[in-house]
């Protein structure tokens, strides 16, 4: 199965994601520079973290105007699994593929720390292997990571089961402690924490198994045995 890793000027977790996809989960991964198009034989797309365009104006907003985003939109409509991590999530939100907005953390500082997620929706292509309410120890690293939606949108998110991950405690002031959401169809998922930093035991001081299920869910969705 082929996973496309989209690279923008300023992306900086692309290589980490690529390593995890290829060396840890034995997938075929391929980089796609933001000016290029996505070919049809791609089975899933990942927008990795970083500082596309230096986070200028607002994290993700300039990258959301990249040519490749049109292809990502088309793939999203076709139901192909798409994951945005951190800056990738910000880009998905700014390009309208996901609802909400990511604001500066309440601390006003960049925050790098280990947190615990709770799985709220286990029917997306990236969470199908989880039990509901399962905990995931996982690091965050962001300055604009406070997910915000107004009350009406929040109701809609709940109604359509679009809240995928929550933090188990208040971390940055996000609405309803939300850490990740999906679109109505469930195939486009965005999350602020970094699963690619948590799936190897060598660098995960707590437990690398839960976060691995994010990628194993993708494998199983695609019908690949791991």
């Amino acid at each position: 199965m082929n996973v496309g890793v989209v690279v923008f000027p300023g992306s900086n977790c692309d290589r980490d994601m690529f390593h995890v996809l290829t060396d840890v989960f034995n997938l075929n991964a391929q980089y796609f520079w933001h000016e290029k198009g996505l070919p049809n034989n791609i089975d899933a797309v990942i927008l990795p973290g970083g500082f596309s365009y230096g986070d200028r104006l607002r994290a993700g907003v300039i990258a959301a105007h990249s040519p490749i985003i049109k292809d990502v939109q088309k793939m999203a409509e076709k139901g192909i699994p798409i994951l945005g991590v951190c800056n990738g999530f910000q880009i998905l939100v700014e390009s309208g593929l996901l609802p909400g907005v990511l604001l500066k953390n309440n601390s006003l500082n960049f925050m790098c720390k280990w947190t615990n997620l709770v799985v709220e929706n286990n029917s997306t292509p990236f969470t199908s292997q989880f039990k509901l309410n399962q905990k995931i120890p996982i690091p965050i690293a962001n300055g604009e990571g406070r997910y915000f939606v107004d009350e009406t949108t929040l109701k809609k998110l709940k109604k359509h089961n679009q809240i995928v991950f929550k933090y188990d405690k208040v971390v940055n002031g996000s609405s309803d402690r939300i850490a990740g959401v999906c679109n109505e169809d469930g195939n486009v998922v965005g999350m602020m924490p970094h699963p690619e930093r948590a799936v190897e035991s060598e660098i995960n001081p707590i437990d690398n198994k839960p976060s691995s299920l994010i990628f194993e869910s993708l494998l199983s969705t695609m019908g690949v045995k791991h």
Binding site: G54, N109, F110, I203
Partner: protein, 721 residues
Amino acid sequence: MSLEPQEIVDLKSKIGREPTSTELQIVAAEWSEHCSYKSSKKHLKMLPMTGPLVISEKGYDSGVLDVGDGYVITAHIESHNHPSAVEPYGGAATGVGGVIRDILSAGTRPIAIFDGLRFGNIEKDPQARWLFKNAVTGIADYGNCLGIPTIGGEVEFDECYSNYALVDVAAVGFGKKENLIKNHANKGDLVVLMGGATGRDGIGGSQFASDSLESENRSAVQIPDPFIEKLIIEAILEARNHHLIKALKDLGGGGLSCALSETADTLGIGIEMDVDKVHTREPGMDPDEIMISESQERMLIITSKQKLKKLQEICKKFRIACSVIGHVTSGNLLHVKKGNKTFANISTEIVANAPLLDRTSKKPAYLETIQKEKKLRPISNFSKTMMALISSPNIASKIWVYGQYDHEVGIRTVVKPGQDASVLRLDNGKFLSVKIDGNPKHCYINPREGAIGCFEEACRNVVCTGARPIGMLDHLQFGNPENPEIFWTFLESLKGITDFAKYFKIPCIGGKVSLYNETPAGPIKPTPLIGVLGLIDKNSLISPKVEDEDCLIIIGDTKNELGGSEYYEYIHHFVGGNCPIVDFKESKRNMETVLHVIKKGIIKNAHDCSKGGLAVGAFELCMTNQIGCQISLDKVPGEKLDSDKILFSESHSRYLLVVEKKNFQKLETILQKNKVSYRMIGKFGGNKIQFNRGKKSLIDLSVDKAQKAWINSLRELVLNG
């Protein structure tokens, strides 16, 4: 920007004519203390620079170590003190940028950043607080955007830095040996300037770094652009992969003047260039300004005519400007033109080799009396003193700082900041452990022993992760070297570092000298900073949680060495006393022993004893593991001392080991065999940290209470004063 009268005479006699104004500017930039090391160069030769793992190539700005299996690491250290003192955000950020380009110029990818930060008293001084807060944000914004993890460092506050700042940044790179850029060039090759546009910012920066800080020359402010730097990194590495780079040099202090003259001089070539070809930020810059501008985020590449097109394509892909500014000539002249008009045509050998100085040195008068001990007011409540110490800015947890740094990106960080040294995994299955340490309080009392102490402390930290030191970086920061007393302290520190490096066979792979660090109130304390890199061949020590019944062992003797300690200075406001002295033999024995027991898997955890002594070291173990401990001072090996001295002495070569009860026997056998001084001094368990002497309870505090104060106090201080 100016040369000394004697230097102008020298220059004229060397070139045999009147220099042009552009030549004067170029030479002044390159002959500044910052670029030429004219005060220090003769003496730096004493450092051991070679070793079995050291790879030396011409023209590298960073040191290279062979870590086996075809891989190398590179490392370098820099400071950005003067700029940070006036614009802490931009100064600290561009400091990161500069050292990263040094790593890049060897052809390696930067994989880690370390920062050493020093400011005045943040408890009292809002200016110090402002400097600290903004310097941290500057480093965070720059390093985070690059996607290079900042994984370690240190923070220290001392009155001697009032109205000033020391911002030191070290970086480590990693790559394949075969990808190292072998700097070379041939006649006709092209000289390319890539990256940010050249502007008027930072004009005179290296001169500025070589003068004492006075308000009238606070004009060299640089605006950081980490986004361009990130693109430069990717473009350079892609160009490297396509073999498009014959020689590579970053632009730092002295701008084009230094980069061109040094490259030409080391490669034995001449360069002819046209200032009109340089992409500038503003119109109307004159040739002198273009030659000495220190605009950030620029790299100089020498490539061949055939490869230019591909190089330009890569730059275009990464949307960074690149201009062909000249070409390589035979001979050794730097020929600067504007169109057809010549502005400078001067031997690079002369430019790049400033006349070196023989500075006089004289032992400072204050050192005659500083070691005298003073009778101190006895401590009536040790628990209270302990709470004050663990909440003090120098000892409190630095999580407010490293929590703002992305220390996970790159997915190599095995041991994260907050422990002793940080550990990175390398692609060949080995691990790299790194720590930087300084201690101006010790160095002020004894510049030689203090410097050795910093070196040993950095080694101890690395050893605690199970790594063997393989290389060292030094950064020597002092006041005005024209003052013989200051120059003496510089020489003493350097000699101490040299002796230690030779004894332990740890080669110096890079360093930096920063002089003229003067504040309105006088010179800073001597502040040598040492970075140590260690290698772990097999799995590193992943510290399992400390549990009930585990034993606490101390290795090394505790001596009456409290001069410059946090206890004397923070609690008693006394500057003086005996500076801790490293006994080389004892140090080596202890280091080898700790490495051995870690490798054998006998112990759970190793932690070094440094600032705040045994008491703080033990508290740190308890607080990070959230467990109590009962410790008896009667058993601590060393001189017979009062309780406060046992608790807070900062004697070197000491380690705290945690061992499971069932392994204690095994450990003891090895410790005895190696003849190290040791005792079991405590047992873990419960939720109280207690220190007793005889039957008397000295300290009794709950882990939670201590931990809360330790973790939060720095943030509180920054936010609320």
